[in-house]
């Protein structure tokens, strides 16, 4: 009797969770249905809810109308450069805050945390003007450089470094004649690898999906990142929905695949970061 009750309870539990999963997954399913159909299928009433056979045609239409691969390469470049620079500068500063004592350390760190409270949109207009003055409008420098030493990243690396790098290890390194940078590069970095992995993926996803700032800064279609190209595609060709959907699928899929490969650890880290705060 009790066993039966537990089984029913488990079934209800999974049923409830699966309804949620269905809602979570439906837009992806619907995107794939539309990307594999013709535009007239999409406008049909009642709509077609099964996969079609037009994916290749739609992809060809995307490639004929926009420079998808160009945008793809641009996005990979911007995201990779942002990620590598962020990892370097944030781990260097985070390690320094965690493992060295120097005058003004507390004040500087509090200042750093305080900047996280400032909403970025406040400085949208003047940031654009600064980029104009520097001659950086339309270049990737304006997308990569301002955020490459993020306060969140430094905070994250410092938290991890504090708990994982032993003072003994630093002292041993010193005795072996390591200077500060060698201590960072040869002693700290290998230990910081798990924290670097999380920050790297977090930065990469954020950079890949960034929209407002690139929309303001990039003025030449040759330099567009995927999100800008996608919004242009939607704005200009939204009569050919099947093509727009194929483009959306192509721009979304790489990131989803990457996420699925690393998801387990990444999700745990997201949660850990929030709980620690």
């Amino acid at each position: 009797m009790i066993g039966k009750h537990a089984v029913v309870k488990k079934l209800i539990l999974h049923l409830a969770l699966l309804i949620g999963v269905a809602v979570s997954m439906f837009p992806f399913y619907w995107l794939t249905v539309m990307a594999t159909s013709t535009t007239s299928d999409i406008y049909k009433f009642p709509p077609k809810v099964t996969f079609g056979t037009e994916l290749m045609t739609n992809i060809q239409n995307v490639l004929a109308n926009i420079d998808f691969f160009g945008s793809f390469v641009n996005t990979v470049f911007v995201s990779t450069a942002s990620t590598l620079l962020t990892l370097f500068f944030c781990s260097l500063a985070g390690f320094s805050f965690a493992k060295f004592d120097f005058p003004g350390k507390k004040v500087l760190f509090v200042l750093l945390l305080a900047t996280m409270m400032i909403p970025g949109q406040l400085s949208l207009v003047p940031s654009f003007i600064i980029m104009q003055k520097l001659g950086w409008v339309g270049t990737y420098k304006s997308l990569i450089i301002p955020g490459m030493a993020s306060a969140f990243g430094i905070f994250w690396m410092r938290q991890y470094a504090q708990g994982s790098i032993h003072d003994d290890l630093i002292n041993a390194g010193r005795i072996d004649g390591c200077n500060h940078f060698r201590l960072f590069w040869n002693v700290a970095l290998p230990i910081l690898r798990p924290a670097l992995a999380f920050l790297g993926i977090f930065t990469f996803i954020g950079s890949w999906n960034d929209y407002l700032w690139p929309l303001i800064i990039l003025n030449n279609p040759e330099k567009y990142t995927l999100q800008i190209t996608l919004s242009q595609l939607n704005g200009i060709y939204n009569t050919d929905y099947a093509m727009v959907m194929a483009g959306t699928l192509m721009a979304t899929l790489p990131l989803i695949v990457m996420f699925l490969l690393v998801s387990r650890q990444f999700i745990s880290d997201i949660a850990a970061g929030a709980i620690k705060d």
């Binding site: 949620g20 997954m25 837009p27 120097f102 003047p126 654009f128 960072f184 407002l212 959907m245 949660a271």
Partner: protein
């Protein structure tokens, strides 16, 4: 004093207060170099723009010609600008329609995921988190077809139940629901994952004690789970408030720079973008930015008040 401090010579005899301070700073020059990138970048791309935007808010400027000092004119115009006020109310409405269901469903999902002996927990976590990885541009394009005025998938569902179709994108209320639903879809899983971690940090002893005392599941939920989860809930409320005040991409893709029919989808940041970057009103755009700042400050203050509230 730790070994490290001894090794870095903090225990040495001091000669003159300021002399030793400067020596200490000089000796640590490499460390300052290591942490300097953040402060340099913040000064150029964070602090200076904010001060400059304060200056700009007093100027009339199209970004190319001469600046013209107009004093408080733009702020005076701002507080009588009906579209600006509409943008504030729209933003608040969308924020309420999205945050309440989002955090509610997140809590329910986390509670279910936390059930003992649940199998496939990791698969569930991934499935629920996946929407958060998708770009907002893609989400808005996909949801645009679900909420289509005539051919949309949701209207198909409604009509097949014999209900009247809704012109989602032309309606004052339903447009906000459409925008809010994208936020709910994209962020519920993220918040559920955070709640789940919070739940897992609650000692199981408490639940066992409650069970022995004969408490029902509902009682346990409201008497143990919710109070102990309070700091985590506050974290999610604060992050979703900051995010909610900055909604831009969803309405911009769904109904365009003008915010759709009657500007019903106009949000504060969309208005800022429209004024500054499509109409080239750089000065007025800065005034709008300061309006946004005040709105966020007011909400942060309210949040802070809630955090400060003593436990009853």
């Amino acid at each position: 004093m730790s070994n490290l401090e001894l090794a870095t010579g903090r225990g040495r005899k001091q000669t003159g207060k300021y002399g030793s301070l400067w020596r200490e700073i000089y000796r640590n020059k490499v460390i300052y170099l290591f942490i300097s990138p953040f402060y340099i970048l913040f000064a150029i791309f964070g602090l200076f723009p904010i001060l400059f935007s304060f200056y700009l808010a007093f100027q009339k400027w199209d970004g190319i010609g001469e600046m013209q000092f107009v004093g408080l004119d733009q702020f005076r115009y701002l507080i009588t600008d009906t579209v600006f006020w509409k943008a504030i109310w729209n933003t608040l409405e969308i924020w309420i329609y999205s945050t309440i269901p989002m955090l509610f469903f997140a809590l329910v999902i986390a509670f279910l995921l936390n059930s003992a002996f649940l199998r496939y927990r990791n698969l569930y976590r991934i499935a629920y988190f996946l929407p958060n990885v998708t770009s907002i541009v893609a989400v808005a394009i996909i949801f645009g077809t679900l909420f289509g005025n005539t051919y949309g998938f949701l209207n198909f569902i409604l009509t097949s139940f014999g209900l009247e179709p809704i012109e989602w994108l032309n309606s004052r209320f339903w447009l906000k629901i459409a925008i809010a639903s994208m936020i709910v879809w994209r962020w519920t899983g993220y918040n559920a994952i955070i709640y789940l971690a919070g739940l897992q940090s609650i000692p199981t002893v408490l639940y066992e004690a409650a069970r022995i005392d004969g408490a029902s599941t509902v009682q346990t939920f409201f008497r143990i789970t919710i109070p102990l989860l309070r700091p985590v809930i506050l974290f999610t409320v604060i992050t979703s408030t900051i995010g909610g005040m900055q909604i831009f991409t969803e309405p911009q893709i769904l109904v365009g720079n003008g915010g759709g029919p009657n500007a019903e989808g106009m949000t504060i940041v969309l208005y800022l973008y429209q004024q500054a970057f499509t109409k080239n009103l750089f000065g007025y755009g800065s005034a709008v930015a300061w309006g946004l700042f005040v709105v966020i400050a007011v909400f942060s203050f309210i949040n802070w008040k809630i955090v400060q509230r003593p436990e009853s």
